[in-house]
Amino acid sequence: METHSFNFLFKESIYPMAIVDHEMRFLNHSKLWLQDLGIKDSNIIGKTFYDVFPNTPEEIKIIHQHCLRHTVKQSKIQTITQSDGSQKWVDWQIKGWKEESKKLSGLLIVAEDITLKKRKEELLLNIQRVAKIGGWEFDFVANKAYLSDITKEIHELPLDYEMDLEKGLEFYKEGEHRDKITRVVNEAVTHHMPWDIETILITAKGNERWVRSIGECEVVDNKCIRIYGTFQDIDQKKRIELHNQEISERLTIATTDAANIGIWEYNIFNRKVTWDDNLYRIYGVTRDKFEETIDAWEAIIHPDDKIHCHNEIELAIVNNKKCTIEFRIIWPNGELRYIRSEFTISRYQNGVPSRLIGATWDITEAKTAEQNLKELLEVTSEQNDSLMNFAHIVSHNLRSHSSNLSMLTGFLTQEEDENEKSSLVKMLNDASISLNETVTHLSEVVHVKTNSEEKMKKTNLLKAIIAVEKNIRALLNEKEAVCNISVDASINIQAVPAYLDSILLNLFTNSIKYSSPKRKPIIDIKAEVKDDVVLFTFADNGLGINLEKHGKKLFGMYKTFHKNKDSKGIGLFITKNQIEAMNGKIEVESTEDVGTSFKLTFKKTIENEHHKKNEKDREHLYYR
C-alpha cells in the first residue's frame, strides 16, 4: 500500500522529476517529466538517461558521475534546442542517493523549465539597455560600490572599473551640478531623504551628458547603511526639452514683453474661450471677472462692432481662411481701445471646424497716431493753402497800392498845375488809406491764424445770436428784414466769443447787403446737435450766387461777385479763417435769385455729457 501510494504521488508530482540507478537507467519518473521535456517515448523505464537525451553535454555527464559517487547535490542550467527549433532553458537539479541495505544507488533528477524566467530577465536587460537605465549602489558598511554595466556605459567606463562614492561624485560637472548631487546624497545620508534629480555628468571620455539620478537609502538603527538607485541617460530628451524651453521662452518674451500679443483659443462646440495672461491685460479684465465664454467676450466689444466681428468669424469658418478683424472694445473703466486680432481655424480630420486659434494686440496707439497724422496733414495743407493765399495777397494787393503810390509821386514831381497837383495829393491820400486798410486786413488774418484754441470757451449760441441781432437792429429794421431764430437755449459751443460775434455779424450784414430788391429779406437761423458737434444754418432769400462760377473763390480774399460799393471781398475770408481757428467748418449752398444758405459746424461743449455717455455704455453692457 505504502509503496503503491508513493508511486502514485511520484507520478503526479508537480515537478518534472525522475529517478535513475547507478547506471543512469530510469527507475521512475513523474508525468510532467515526459511532458515538460518533450519526450515522445512514453516508456523510458529501463532505458538510460543518455538514450533519452543523446545530446547531454560532457560537463553534465561529469556532474552526474560526481553526484553518484559522493551522494551530493549539484545543479546546472542547460539550453535545449527542441524539435520545433525553439530554445528551452532547463535547470537540472541533481542529487545522488544510496541505499546501503539494498546496495542500491542512483540519482534523483528534477528538471525545472526556467525558459519563462530567463526570457523575462533578458527582456528586462533589454529594456534597461534601450531606456539607458542602469543601477547602482553604495554600501557604507562594506564601503563598496556596485555599478551595473549600463551605468558604467553611461559613464563611458570600462566594465571592470572599481567605483567608490567619492570617485562617483567627481564625475558630475563642477559647479551647480556637482553641488546638487553632493547636496542630495548628504541629505539622503543624514536625513534619509530619497532624491530624483537631473544633472550633467562628465564621462570618463570627457563628454557632457544629461542624466537622471534616482536614489533611496536603506536605514538600519536610524543609520543609513546603503544608498541605491537607478541611473538614466536622458541627454537627448533633455537637450530637446531645453531647446524647446528656450524657444518657448523666446516666444514668450517676444509676445509678452516686446509685442504685447495675447493668444486665445475658442472652442466652437462648447463656446468656451481660453486666454493667456496677456490677453486679459489687453481686454482690461481680470481672470475672476471673466466667464471664459464667447458671449462674455462679445460683451466687451463696442456695441457698433459686435455684428461685424460676429460676421467675420462666421465667414472665416465657412471660407476656411486666415482672418484679421479690427474692432473696438470698452474697458471696464469706460476707456475705448482699438484691437486687432488674427486667427486661423483648426479642424478635425473629417473637416469639421473645432477651434479658432488667434493672436490679438492693442492698436490704439497706432490708430491714434494715424488719426493725429491725418489731422496734422489736414492742418498742414490748410496752413499751406493760407500761406499761398497770404503770399498772393502780399504780392498782389500790397503791390497794387505801392505801385499806385510810386506812380502818383512820379506825376507829382513833374506836375506844375496847382489844381492838378492838389488832385494828385488827394489821390495819394486815398492810395495810402487803401494801403492802410489792406495792412489792417492782413494783420487781422494773421491774428486769427495765430490765436489758437486756448481762448476757446463755453459760449451760449442763442445768446450770441440775439446780442448780434440787437446790435444791427437798426439796419434790419431799415430793410424791414424778418429773422426767424430757431435755436435751443441749451446749446453751448466751444468758441472764441469775439470770433463768434464777428462771424454772426458778417453773416447778418452779408444777407442784408446782398438782399434782393424784389422782396423783403427773410433770415432763417437754425441749430441742431449731432454727436459732438453743432450744425448751424444761416439762410436768406437774397440775391444768391452762382456757385459753379464763383464757388471756389467765395471764401478767398478780395473776391467780390456783386456790383456793390460795400463789397471788399474780405468778410467771408475772415469768417472762414475764424471758424477754422475754432476747429469748425463753413459750407455754402446757393441759388441765384433764390437765396444763400451757410452751413457752419461748431464743436459742442462737452461738460458733463462725457460722464453720462460712459454710464450709458456701462448700463448697456450690464443688461446684455
Partner: protein, 133 residues
C-alpha cells in the same frame, strides 16, 4: 511812330486808370480810350460794339484781380466774341501781381501778348506801340 486808333483799359482801380490815361495822353498813344471797371462790364461793352458792327479796340490792357468777373474769366469769354477783327486784338495783362503762378498762367492764353507789371511806365507803352502799330 504810328498811333493806335482805339485802346481799352479793364481795371477796377481808379488811380491806375487815371495814371495810365495821363501817360497815354502825354505820349499821344491813341485816339480813343475805352474804360471798363470789371470783366463783365468789358464783355458787355465789347459785345455792344460788335452788335453795332464797329471794330474792337486793337489793344486791351487787362487787370487780373477784379470783382464780379476777373481777368482770367474775361479771357475765357472774350475769345468767344464773334467779331471779324477779334483776332487782330492784342491783349496785355497788366497786374501788380509778382506771383510767379500768375506769370506762368498767362502762357496758357494765345490771345495774350505780354505781361506788364504795374506801375505802367511810358517805356512800357512805347514797347506796345512798337509791337502793335
Amino acid at each position: 511812330m504810328k498811333k493806335i486808333e482805339s485802346t481799352c483799359i479793364i481795371d477796377d482801380d481808379p488811380i491806375f486808370i487815371y495814371g495810365t490815361k495821363r501817360i497815354m495822353k502825354e505820349m499821344d498813344f491813341c485816339d480813343d480810350i475805352l474804360v471798363f471797371n470789371n470783366g463783365q462790364d468789358a464783355i458787355d461793352g465789347l459785345m455792344d460794339i460788335t452788335a453795332q458792327g464797329k471794330k474792337l479796340p486793337s489793344v486791351i490792357f487787362l487787370d487780373l484781380n477784379m470783382p464780379i468777373m476777373d481777368g482770367w474769366e474775361f479771357l475765357e469769354d472774350f475769345v468767344k466774341i464773334p467779331n471779324h477783327n477779334r483776332e487782330k486784338v492784342t491783349v496785355y495783362i497788366i497786374s501788380s501781381s509778382v506771383d510767379p503762378r500768375d506769370v506762368e498762367r498767362v502762357k496758357d492764353y494765345d490771345v495774350v501778348n505780354n505781361y506788364i507789371l504795374k506801375p505802367i511806365t511810358p517805356q512800357d507803352l512805347q514797347n506796345v506801340l512798337a509791337e502793335v502799330a
